[in-house]
């Protein structure tokens, strides 16, 4: 079994990670990290109605970045811009730029299917195919040519192990995925997303349909995967953002109000608007 997982603890300790930051010391900041996704002056409207307005932020590599804000603030829209999922909606206009490892993903001629392989996504409701556990994970791999059966088995096993699901499904690989619990299905979705070895994982409210224990499992998984992948997560659960993310972006009415390391955002935010939101006050 060829596992490529590293100890997330060691990986972070070796770098100038956010954990090193403090209220009074020199806190970690996204600017000092290696950039993965760079959003510049991004605006988006649906049928003339603005949803994002001049958003600029840099999502660092191999860190977990959370987008928080009230309903309708544009956090899911921003997430969907990162793999061009908004392209599928009629009447969308996008301006500004998003680059992935230096490549402008909105440039003419970009292979959108390849982009979405590199930038995988998991949604709020787990949506397994009505197929076996194995086939759900292998699905994306089959679209890539030249993968031998034995390698396929290895990749499925590796993906399920990485998604902390292997021990629960190793004897049920050929049973239908629809029989799994909600929490297991969601980890299966994560296994499916990482099977194709993406650079980035986008998670849109990945635990909001799950019970508290399944939620903690998903959060633990996000923390572990954060050592290996660049992760952007949308959540309306602020405590979840505080628990899982290295960096937090607060959006309000389509604008980015504040973006910084999570410790700082939850202990001493710079903007009154952020403070009011995370402490549950009237803004």
């Amino acid at each position: 079994m060829a596992t490529e997982r590293k100890d997330p603890g060691n990986d972070r300790a070796a770098s100038d990670g956010p954990a090193a930051g403090g209220v009074d010391g020199a806190p970690a900041s996204p600017e000092r990290e290696t950039p993965c996704l760079e959003v510049r002056d991004l605006s988006l409207s649906y049928g003339g109605v603005p949803a994002l307005s001049h958003v600029s932020l840099t999502i660092p590599r191999r860190r977990v970045t959370a987008f928080i804000g009230p309903s309708g603030c544009g956090k899911s829209t921003l997430l969907r811009c990162l793999n061009r999922l908004n392209d599928l909606i009629d009447g969308v206009r996008v301006s500004g730029s998003v680059t992935l490892n230096g490549m402008d993903i909105y440039r003419r001629g970009v292979d959108v299917a390849d982009l979405r392989r590199r930038v995988g996504m998991v949604f709020q409701q787990p949506n397994p195919f009505p197929k076996s556990v194995y086939e759900n994970v292998a699905y994306g791999l089959r679209l890539q040519r030249g993968i031998a059966r034995s390698e396929m088995d290895d990749r499925v096993e590796w993906s399920l192990k990485s998604a902390a699901l292997w021990d629960e499904v190793r004897d049920r690989l050929n049973e239908t995925a629809l029989e799994l619990s909600g929490g297991q299905q969601q980890r299966l979705m994560i296994a499916r997303a990482i099977a194709v070895r993406p650079d980035v994982l986008l998670l849109d409210e990945p635990a909001s349909a799950l019970d508290p224990i399944s939620t903690l499992r998903i959060e633990e998984l996000i923390h572990q995967l954060g050592a290996e992948y660049t992760i952007a997560i949308v959540t309306h659960n602020m405590q979840q953002a505080a628990r899982v993310s290295d960096y937090t972006a607060f959006l309000y009415m389509g604008e980015l109000v504040e973006f910084g390391n999570t410790d700082g955002m939850f202990l001493n935010p710079a903007k009154q608007q952020t403070e009011d939101y995370i402490t549950g006050r009237y803004g």
């Binding site: 403090g22 209220v23 009074d24 010391g25 020199a26 602020m238 405590q239 505080a242 939850f266 202990l267 001493n268 935010p269 952020t274 403070e275 009011d276 995370i278 402490t279 549950g280 006050r281 009237y282 803004g283």
Partner: protein
């Protein structure tokens, strides 16, 4: 500061503030009584200091208990979190001020058999005045979250330290000249030391106020994590 969406949360924080102020009020009474008892050799007044201690301890426990409940139920963040942590720590400092006041009351019992010195404990009185002002100002500053007042208290601590050094020097001279009163001199130094500690606690509380308002930990400058 705007209100929480949850009115219940606001009233919980307000009740916590009231508890802290109630505790502060009791400790301030302990300090005033103890300091007056010492300089007048009034053992009756000193006894009152001890009777207040039970109430102070009870309030400290209540304060911690309330804080733990709010943290468990509300998962406070940002300024709310800083406020709760600071209230808990301020409660600890206030309780220690009460302990120091009890020490002064015990010193009073020991010096009461001696005559009051000719200078009427002028050095102790000077320290007492500064320390009482520091304590009342820091409690006021906590209630109003007044940054300027908090810094005023932090600065005043140096005066108390100077006051202690002066008392210490004067008593060494006195011990040389009047060896009959060594015990009184020793007790006086301990009382001065207790007042000096109370100044430290008042300063600590003011530093928490700065933390609540600014989010900056101003304790131990120079040892901040890099």
């Amino acid at each position: 500061m705007s209100r929480h969406i949850s009115e219940q949360y606001d009233s919980e924080l307000e009740s916590l503030n009231r508890l802290l102020m109630e505790m502060g009020g009791l400790v301030e009474r302990q300090l005033r009584s103890a300091a007056r008892a010492f300089v007048t050799h009034d053992t009756g007044l000193a006894a009152e200091v001890f009777t207040l201690e039970t109430d102070v301890n009870r309030l400290e426990l209540a304060l911690d208990d309330e804080c733990v409940h709010i943290i468990a139920r509300r998962q406070p963040a940002a300024r709310d979190l800083r406020l709760l942590i600071s209230i808990m720590k301020a409660g600890t400092d206030l309780e220690r001020v009460g302990d120091e006041a009890c020490k002064i009351a015990r010193m009073t019992e020991q010096v009461a058999t001696f005559p009051i010195p000719d200078n009427g404990y002028i050095g102790i009185q000077h320290m007492r005045d500064i320390v009482i002002r520091m304590l009342t100002t820091t409690l006021d500053a906590f209630a109003r979250l007044d940054l300027d007042a908090a810094y005023e208290v932090i600065a005043a601590d140096a005066e108390v330290d100077d006051g202690f050094a002066a008392v210490d020097r004067a008593l060494l001279r006195e011990i040389d000249e009047q060896s009959d009163f060594v015990q009184r001199a020793v007790n006086t130094v301990w009382t001065a030391r207790a007042l000096e500690r109370i100044g430290d606690h008042a300063k600590n509380i003011s530093e928490y106020i700065v933390y609540v308002i600014r989010g900056r930990d101003v304790r131990h400058p120079g040892s901040a994590r890099s």
